[in-house]
Symmetry: D2
Subunit: 366 residues, 4 copies
């Protein structure tokens, strides 16, 4: 049990508030001897960094990660890796006026009710800044996966933003990192840009849906019932701020399918079993099949908007809340590298768990 | 870490295979002094029992639960409660022919790849029979919740079966237990019956979506980041056989919303904060608000169908698979009491976790 | 977190009371494909069984173990193994009179204070019968260890009973299972027999110290700080009823040593590093060295004696307590197979943990 | 499962190496609203700080703790508390020559075998510096205990150093913090000083035994079998560097006792049950009685001595090892505040666990 950790063997504990001196992640259980550097991790952090474009918040955080422990001469030692990101841009005066108000849609009121007090500076622990720590931890997971499972790739992208949907016919993975939406369709970028600019101008925000796909993951990871790959992925994604739904493969659409449509038929391929479709999203009975693992999630629109909303304060008095400060009109954008990081951590964790129980040996077919 | 457990404090470990001598649940961490009986738990088990109608499998299991430990004179003692259900109907010959084949959409192939062997009798551990153990554990959770949180109710029902959707305008909770679909709309039962009968006649199966709602849950349960009430609920539901998507509140639909639409405005009610809507599904920042907790999930159509499907066997040879035996045309129906049980366990677990950390004291408003 | 489980990957949850219908152990995380049978486990159970001689309690329990799940055709499947032992000899009338009294030195009073009620029949959960479940789980661990680490042996024996001490000059492992004391010195058996008979005749009981040694354990198991092999062994042994002290290697005697005496010098042997002594008890920095792992523990005299003792009852009234019923004059004897079982579980657990993190690869020397 | 964490609810993860940029502890699960400050924690750290006297190593570390997260306006918020101690005195050249040698009695060789590499600077993770992080975490636990259990005290002291034993007839708790040995007997300080000076002069080191006592702990903390207060205490103490034995109450001496001697008789006192003796060390059946909790442990002599010892290097060649650098002649001394910290953490953890399961309500007597 831990309130701020996830993972069974590759175990990540994040700590820190939006406007404290620093935040970070303690990564425990990492395999030893893996090449790792601050520069390698920084690449992932830079992808989620605010201030990259007009699409995300203007807060200018360099978000430099430091490795404080767990490595020696550029390799992991098997001891805990402390990843720290100092908070350098702490304009807490922006938030001062809402210390006694509860912003609708925010954790302000539930923190107050549960803990009796809360750190109001920038949302404290509930700030999306916490996800920087996950992305750093995900960078470590990516380094380990590259060493242990060459060829495994994890790719996230947006599939929906408000009323805009990805046209999958145009899917081009090479475009994802070339636009501020992590959108695999260059032809739609201008339209999405205009759409989001209008929402921002309206002092509003908008939801999103993102998809993350892992290819090259070996079969046999996961477990049948409560350490299922899919339930751990669902939990991991649902811990990301503002996520309200998680789908594996067909997801919610499976409710509409017939049995003849849903089950992926199996044939023998050159390298083992092959499937004629992937409705399952790469997971059967909680265990990976070797097909791409497909996870989708929705991200609600940020509640921090300039449009006034009805609420109450700690005295129980009615107030109108307007959230000033720097906020993303679509927090779902920055959730893309966060979701990739979570998937990297979960897959690595199950790789380690699997070799604990089975030694990583696979039952043969053919 | 445990492959077959869930829960932090109220911790449930299930065990057993479809066609072994018995299956059950070990419930650890239960508060002491709670009145409990086999009869109380049996009520919940009877709801998910197969053989109740033409809608579910004809397997006639009495599914009688026995309490083997953890109670004395009708009360829990605080020691582990062993709940055992003996398997009395073990017609394993029905399944013999598929011991070397992999049924498409089943865990057969992933178990084989991971473990090198599998128990083919009735699907072994991957059988939906495992969910009987959860329902029994959920019965214990319900007894504890009744004692600790009088007025808390947990209600599950179907909202979709294939192309049929619940008409929420007709919602009548009183109807749920009066029809074999757990459908809160008496007027639709005949139509759903005909629809499913046709699917069965076609030797097919169909998916479903179900919703579970907890009312009367106190605010303050959950935790901000990785012990979130919503992530634990998502994980719990995703562990149920065949579930492929989980939603909290607006769920996937949140991707289409604007910030002005999504955040639930707050007013001061007679008993504390009140909300003008419940898009959040009763959870903000991972912590309950006191509003109804709303969880929805999809259940894929069972892959055990009489229609032939292409597959391979352990020798890697192409085969045509037809799953004989007794199977539900819509496994989503029986998932309703299972999802209720999981929600009861998760809420109780967080109630206990909360009183560990905070003593159950709530921050005051007004 | 679990109140009734131990182990990280190979995880054992025991359940059941002395006089309930059954007790047992749920073994989760077991590697698949391991040959196992009830007969194999029964051998270990028979060693701890009461009623074997005048040295232990006369309660005649057959203690037959049944495997209810987790195996198929004589091999483990990787799913949870339920081991059940039915209680056939439930003479609860023996204990009826003490239901409202607190026996000095027993858990009666602390259970009452903590839980508000207790199962007084035979001590309920606090009965040494619980250790039968551990021994059954230890049998599973032994089967796995035989498959994964051929040559590893775990041997427990008594080193002290009251004022009698093992003369290590006479140590003969072959004698251990040939006498009712698990004593590796045939020449002392008569003396120990007379000593214990006199104590029994005096309506008294006596403490003991036992030692368990694992040989053939590979180096590299454990972890530096909080998943130390020694701390997990200490915890495991301290969970055995009546154990009050645990030592690794030199144990408490290390307090008297000089640095020049204590550190085991290292030389290069034919098969890798060799040590000129084993003060460390096979563990350095929480990690096994490959030398024999040596653990010692004390077991207090049973408090269930016929000699009257001062106490109080639930009404707070002074009473004189005499514990009738069938009790061992030296419970330390039966702790020997229990301690062996715990060591088997802990070593296997760390073997699995190690291959999770490191893949089981060892750093080379020379 | 976590390699570098302990605790169930109040959960501490330590990180950092002796000569890295910093080390620290992540404290999760802390109750909210508790007054805490760096100054409060610093008091505990200062007690274990090296360089306080000729008795301990001359390394001059200020060991200043910083709170990086989890507090707001001087109170805990319920979110993770990051405690960081920067390493300012990193004379790694002292250790350079032993990077390829294995010091006898050290973790050098087991780290190398397990992980394939190790951080040789100052012992890396195996350095006793890690215990500073525990002491900082223990400071947080002490602050919470003072708030939740007024009157609870935790006191550690030395009872043995090599051939010198505490004369309990002279026991005076007021003296403990007045001498560099944490010795509750002022009259023995001179003798112990001379004894240790001679050992240092001989380029040797010596073992020790320490005792920690908690008074004012409520009854009912702990659990019967595997979450026993005593097994958690034993595990906690055994994780401290160099500890080789742990005893509760009578400890190993219980092996020599008769049942009539060992069981503590009970009478009714003015405030509830009272005991005529405390052989049990305050714990019965894994649950506290309300009597003082008494734990004792041995600490082996440090293996880092100037006297040459036989060993091998990574090439498998025979070498003579002399450990230069700054080392304590008796590491047991500094273990006293560490053991106090561990006891504070364990007791608090069980206090929280107990209120999770039972709500903290106690069964009445009388």
């Amino acid at each position: 049990m831990s309130f701020n950790s996830f993972g069974h063997i590759f175990r990540v504990t994040t700590w820190g508030e939006s406007h404290g001196p620093a935040l970070g992640a303690t990564v425990d259980g990492c395999p030893p001897g893996i090449a790792i550097s601050e520069e390698f991790i920084q690449v992932f952090l830079d992808r989620r960094r605010p201030g990259q474009s007009a699409m995300t918040t203007q807060r200018q955080e360099p978000d430099r990660v430091r490795i404080l422990s767990g490595t020696y001469e550029g390799r992991t030692t098997g001891t805990p890796i402390q990843l720290m990101i100092e908070n350098t841009d702490q304009r807490s005066k922006d938030y001062g006026e809402i210390a006694r108000q509860f912003r609708p849609g925010h954790a302000d009121i539930t923190y107050h009710q549960k803990y009796g007090l809360r750190d109001p500076r920038g949302g404290g622990r509930s700030s999306a800044r916490e996800t920087a720590a996950r992305v750093a931890a995900g960078g470590v997971a990516q380094a380990v996966l590259q060493a242990l499972v060459p060829g495994l790739t994890i790719t996230g992208y947006m599939v929906q933003m408000g009323e805009k949907h990805l046209n999958r016919a145009n899917f081009d993975a090479a475009e994802i990192l070339r636009n501020p939406f992590f959108l695999p369709d260059a032809s739609a970028v201008a339209e999405w840009t205009d759409y989001l600019a209008a929402i921002r101008k309206d002092q509003n925000s908008v939801g999103a849906a993102i998809e993350v796909v892992a290819t090259g993951c070996p079969p046999g990871l996961g477990a049948p019932i409560y350490a299922k790959m899919d339930s751990d992925l669902a939990a991991a994604m649902m811990t990301i701020n503002a996520v309200k739904g998680v789908e594996i493969g067909e997801g919610m659409a499976a409710a509409a399918l017939l049995g003849t449509e849903n089950a992926d038929e199996i044939v023998m391929g050159p390298n083992g079993p092959d499937y004629l479709s992937n409705h399952a999203g790469g997971i059967l009975g909680g265990i990976t099949t070797g097909q791409p693992i497909v996870v989708r999630m929705s991200v609600k629109p940020t509640s921090s908007i300039l449009t006034p909303r009805r609420s109450i304060n700690t005295a129980g008095e009615a107030v109108e809340v307007v959230t000033k400060g720097r906020h993303d009109p679509c927090v779902g954008i920055r959730a893309v590298p966060v979701a990739e990081a979570m998937m990297a951590c979960v897959i690595l964790d199950h790789l380690l768990l699997d070799r604990a129980q089975t030694g990583g040996v696979r039952g043969q077919i053919g």
